[in-house]
């Protein structure tokens, strides 16, 4: 009974140097996994303004700009007036996506999709309804907070108008 573990132990010892040389390469893998994840998120943050508080950036609380501090402003022309649009609940996921990663394309898509609804005016805004009228020319703007010292301002991240 005791011979087998001893043999295994000898085999293990013989294999150890080979294993250790492979380990030298494998050792870098966990670090590479983390570095690649961070680099990917950093690229998204700097190129398409991806949310700092999501993904693998480790940038929590580092800026005034994050998905929760952004806004999606939607307007439309209704009876020759520019009015604010109350977004339908069904667009919630789309709006969340815009806040997390705003692009001109996704803003344009939302503007086009809003044209599919029927609208009615209420309290100076328009809201989607089953028996309203179709409207074209929705304008979608995603804005973010900026800070200059203690002064907060804002700027446009993405903007699109449906034809």
């Amino acid at each position: 009974m005791s011979a087998e573990p001893a043999a295994n132990s000898t085999a293990d010892r013989a294999a150890a140097p080979r294993l250790r040389s492979h380990l030298a390469l494998l050792r870098a893998v966990p670090i590479l996994v983390l570095l690649v994840a961070i680099a990917a998120q950093a690229t998204l943050m700097t190129t398409v303004n991806a949310d700092r508080q999501a993904g693998s950036g480790f940038a929590m609380f580092s800026s005034v700009d994050f998905a929760g501090s952004r806004s999606v402003v939607v307007t439309a022309t209704y009876n020759d007036d520019v009015v604010d649009v109350r977004l339908p609940i069904s667009t919630t996921d789309q709006v969340d996506g815009l806040l997390r990663s705003p692009t001109e394309d996704s803003a344009a898509q939302l503007a086009r999709d809003l044209g599919e609804f029927e609208w009615v005016e209420q309290d100076g805004r328009i809201r989607a309804t089953a028996d309203g009228t179709n409207i074209d020319g929705f304008s979608v703007t995603v804005r973010r907070l900026t800070a200059d010292g203690h002064e907060l301002g804002s700027e446009v991240l993405a903007h699109a108008v449906a034809p």
Partner: protein, 297 residues
């Protein structure tokens, strides 16, 4: 003939096996890491049953759980999760994924597992905290305290931190619609310096200075953690690793209790410290702070 090293022979699935598992550092690393996965599953619920089964396996079948391949498979499951549901993932999930791979690599040479896992843990923590420091230094709105103020404005969990800086919850509530107006239109601005909210100039000055000090203190703490974990074990800085990380955990998780992240930092921190008794107790206290804060939110 020498007797084989004595190890209690017990069935692969037993309470005795579980107890023996808990008594070894390697067993603790595997068990706590697998258990942390259950909480990480909050980011993608289909992984919860898998991580629960995995945790039970590390507890009741410790020998099987020391197979490197299983840990690579678990890491692969998390890779799939971040590919399928990227928007639900937060940064600690990626650290967890890298830690799973680190354990898998460490288990390829079980005799030196604690050394290898400790080394991997050091590098991972150094990278994470160095990255966090760099973002804060370069964001342009952290050092002034504006980022913390804005986070506190929109995240109620941060209120205790801002209250300590002399900023009342009422002043934040007053500011909320004004900041909403700023981010919704062109040309609007809002000054967060506290003279806007308080007629008491000394309180305003205190708050402005306090916010900046909190921001600078956060950067200093995170940078020191990165440096201490990057430094070699023989360095004097290495002695600061656990105290700094525990200090960070106490401050952070007493405000924003991200339990999976706290557990993950604790298990990596304990691994780096080779499960030294006092360090383990300190990390347990850190996790308890997160639990208590979470329960009382």
């Amino acid at each position: 003939m020498t007797a084989a090293p004595s190890s209690p022979v017990s069935p692969p699935w037993s309470v005795t096996a579980a107890m023996n598992q808990v008594r070894t550092p390697i067993g603790c690393v595997l068990m706590i890491t697998a258990g942390t996965g259950i909480f990480m599953g909050a980011h993608w619920s289909p992984l919860v049953p898998l991580m629960l089964a995995f945790y039970l396996a590390t507890l009741l079948a410790p020998s099987a759980a020391r197979n490197s391949l299983i840990w690579f498979v678990m890491a692969a499951a998390w890779v799939a999760a971040v590919m399928i549901q990227p928007s639900a993932m937060e940064d600690h999930v990626y650290l967890y994924l890298a830690w799973l791979v680190a354990i898998a690599v460490g288990l390829l040479d079980r005799d030196n597992f604690m050394d290898e896992a400790g080394r991997q843990g050091r590098y991972l923590l150094a990278i994470v905290f160095a990255t966090a420091t760099i973002w804060k230094l370069t964001s342009g709105s952290f050092i002034s305290g504006a980022a913390l103020w804005t986070s506190g404005l929109l995240d109620d969990r941060m209120a205790p931190l801002l209250n300590l800086a002399g900023i009342s919850s009422e002043s934040l509530a007053d500011a909320r619609p004004q900041v909403t107006a700023v981010v919704a239109s062109d040309g609007e601005t809002f000054d967060i310096s506290l003279s806007s909210y308080s007629s008491d100039i000394s309180l305003s000055s205190y708050s402005s200075i306090a916010l900046t000090l909190v921001a600078l203190g956060t950067i200093a703490l995170e940078a020191l953690i990165a440096v201490s974990y990057a430094a070699p074990d023989t360095s004097r800085l290495a002695k600061l690793r656990a105290p700094l990380l525990v200090g960070f955990g106490f401050v952070t998780y007493a405000i924003v209790p991200v339990l999976p992240f706290a557990l993950l930092l604790a298990v990596i921190g304990c691994t780096v410290a080779r499960f030294e008794r006092r360090t383990v107790l300190a990390f347990v206290a850190m996790v308890l702070v997160a639990v208590v804060r979470f329960a009382t939110l």
